[in-house]
C-alpha cells in the first residue's frame, strides 16, 4: 500500500515536472483562475466596507420642540426602540447638544460670545435613529409621523433626505445583487476554463494512458498520478497567484484609501492571511483534482 502511494506520488511529480509547456500552460490557467478568485474576495471586501460605511452615514434625526418634556421624549425613544426595523436609538438632551455645540465652536469667539449672552439654551433635544436596513427608513419615518407625537416634534430629517436615502438603499441593494452575479459568473468561467485545459492536457496524454493500460496498470496507478498532479497545480498555483496578488494589494491599497477612507486592504490581508492562503489552497487543489478526475474517467473504460 505504502509502495503504491509512493509510486503514485512519484509518477504524478514526473508527469508534472517533465510535462514542460503543457504543465506550464495548465499552471497559468489555474493561476489566472485563482487570481480571479482573489479579486472576487477583494471586490467583496471593498463593497462590504463601502456599504457598511454608507449605512453608517444614513440615519433619521427627530428634533423636539424646546418645550417638550424630557420624560415624554424618553417615552417616544422607548417606543421607537420597540419598532422591529430599529437597530439603535440615541438620545441627545438639550444640555448635551449645547455642550457638543460649544465644544465644536470653542475657537470661534463670536459664537461663544453670542451663546453666553443667551439666557436660554437655543438647541433642541433630538434622537438619532438607525434602521437595521437602509430600505426600512421609510417604515420608521411613517411610524414617527403619528398624531400623538406631532405636537412635540419640531422636524424630522427623513423628509429632507428621503430621496437620497431611498436611492442609496436601492443602490446598495443592486450593488449586492450585481456583486453576487459577477462572482458567480466569473467563478463559473474560471472553473470551466480550468476544466477544459485539464481535459485537453489529459487528452494529449491518451496514448500514454493506453500504453499504461496495455502494460496492465490498475486504474488507481493510472488516475492516481493525475490527482497528484492536480494537487501540485493547486499548491504551486496558489503560491504563484499570491506572489502576484500580494504586491498588487500592497501597492494598490493606499490609492484605494483615497476613495474609501475607512478601508485598509493591507491590514485586512495581514489579518486574514491564514484563511486567505487556506481558501486559495483549497480552491486550487479542488480545481486541479476535480477537473483531473473528471477528465480521466473516460480513458479508464476498456
Amino acid at each position: 500500500m505504502a509502495t503504491l502511494f509512493a509510486r503514485i506520488f512519484r509518477y504524478g511529480w514526473q508527469n508534472f515536472s517533465r510535462g514542460k509547456w503543457l504543465s506550464a500552460a495548465t499552471l497559468i490557467v489555474i493561476v489566472l483562475a485563482l487570481i480571479v478568485f482573489e479579486s472576487l474576495i477583494v471586490f467583496s471586501v471593498i463593497t462590504k466596507t463601502s456599504v457598511a460605511l454608507l449605512k453608517e452615514k444614513i440615519d433619521i434625526s427627530v428634533y423636539f420642540k424646546p418645550t417638550a418634556p424630557e420624560e415624554e421624549i424618553l417615552k417616544i425613544k422607548k417606543a421607537i426602540e420597540n419598532l422591529p426595523e430599529t437597530e439603535s436609538v440615541e438620545y441627545v438632551s438639550r444640555d448635551k447638544a449645547l455642550a457638543t455645540f460649544k465644544e465644536a465652536h470653542k475657537d470661534d469667539p463670536a459664537i461663544s460670545q453670542a451663546l453666553s449672552e443667551l439666557a436660554e439654551n437655543p438647541l433642541s433635544a433630538l434622537v438619532n435613529i438607525k434602521a437595521k436596513d437602509p430600505s426600512q427608513y421609510a417604515a420608521i419615518a411613517k411610524g414617527l409621523d403619528n398624531a400623538d407625537w406631532r405636537p412635540l416634534t419640531q422636524k424630522i430629517t427623513y423628509r429632507q433626505n428621503q430621496a437620497i436615502i431611498e436611492r442609496l438603499g436601492k443602490a446598495i441593494d443592486i450593488g449586492n445583487r450585481l456583486g453576487l452575479i459577477i462572482t458567480i459568473l466569473l467563478t463559473l468561467t474560471a472553473i470551466i476554463i480550468t476544466f477544459n485545459t485539464v481535459s485537453l492536457a489529459i487528452y494529449s496524454n491518451r496514448d500514454e494512458i493506453g500504453i499504461m493500460r496495455l502494460v496492465g496498470a490498475p486504474a488507481s496507478l493510472i488516475s492516481g498520478p493525475y490527482m497528484v498532479e492536480g494537487v501540485i497545480y493547486g499548491v504551486i498555483g496558489a503560491a504563484i497567484s499570491l506572489a502576484v496578488f500580494w504586491p498588487a494589494i500592497y501597492w494598490g491599497a493606499p490609492y484605494l484609501k483615497y476613495f474609501i477612507t475607512d478601508l485598509d486592504l493591507r491590514a485586512y490581508f495581514v489579518a486574514h492571511i491564514f484563511s486567505l492562503v487556506g481558501y486559495q489552497l483549497l480552491f486550487g487543489i479542488a480545481l486541479g483534482v476535480i477537473s483531473s478526475n473528471f477528465a480521466i474517467q473516460k480513458y479508464l473504460k476498456i
Binding site: Q14, N15, L214, V215, G216, A217
Partner: protein, 229 residues
Amino acid sequence: MISFVNVSKWYENGTKSVALEDVNLKIESQEFVTLVGKSGAGKSTLVKLMIGEDRPTKGKIMIAGKEVNRLSSSELPELRRKIGVVFQDFRLLPKKDVYENVAFAMEVAGRPDIEIESVVPQVLDMVGLAERAHHFPDQLSGGEKQRVAIARAMINRPMVIVADEPTGNLDPGNTWEIIKLLMKINELGTTVILATHSKDIVNALGKRVISMDQGKVIRDEKNGKYVLS
C-alpha cells in the same frame, strides 16, 4: 494454453467490415508461432482480442483457463501483466526514461523496489541497453526503442509474448537483433506469437506458421513456410 473458439469480429460503422471470421486456434505453452497474411487479413485484430483491447463479436477466447472477454475491469490488468505485448510503433512512455519504462511494468505488478532494482539492470543488459538506461525514448534509435519494448514485455516473466510486426519500422540489422531476442525468450520457456509481413523471417525461423486471409485462418502448419493466397 491459448485458444480461440469460433471467434468472429466485425466492425459496423455504416458498412460492415469483417476483421475475423470463425477463427479456431490452439496455441500450446512454449510454442513459437508466426502469424502471416496480407495487410488487412486480421492479424492485429487477433492480437487486440487476445489482450482484451477489444471484444469479439462472436465466440470466445480462453487464456490460461479464463475467458478474456468475461474478465472484470479489475481482472483485465492482471491478465495483461501475464501477456507481454510488443508493437510496430514501440509504444514507450515518452516521459519516462529507458530504466523507468521497464521498471514501470514491474511497479504496475506491485513488485517490491529491491526486486525491481536488481532485475531491471539484468534485463537491460540482456537486450544490450545497459548504457542507455537513462535516455528518454526520443533519444533512441528505432531498434533501441524496440529492445526497450521487449525488455518491458518480458520483465514480469509473462506466459506469452505477443509481437505485432515488431520489425515493421526497422532496418535488416535491427530486425534480426529483435528476432534473435524473441527466439532467446522462447528458448527460456515463454510462448511467443509473432505477427509479421516478412517472408525472410518466417522462412528462416522454420516454426509453426498460421496464415490468414480476409479474416480466416487458411493454413496452419508446423515448420511452415511463407505462402500467400
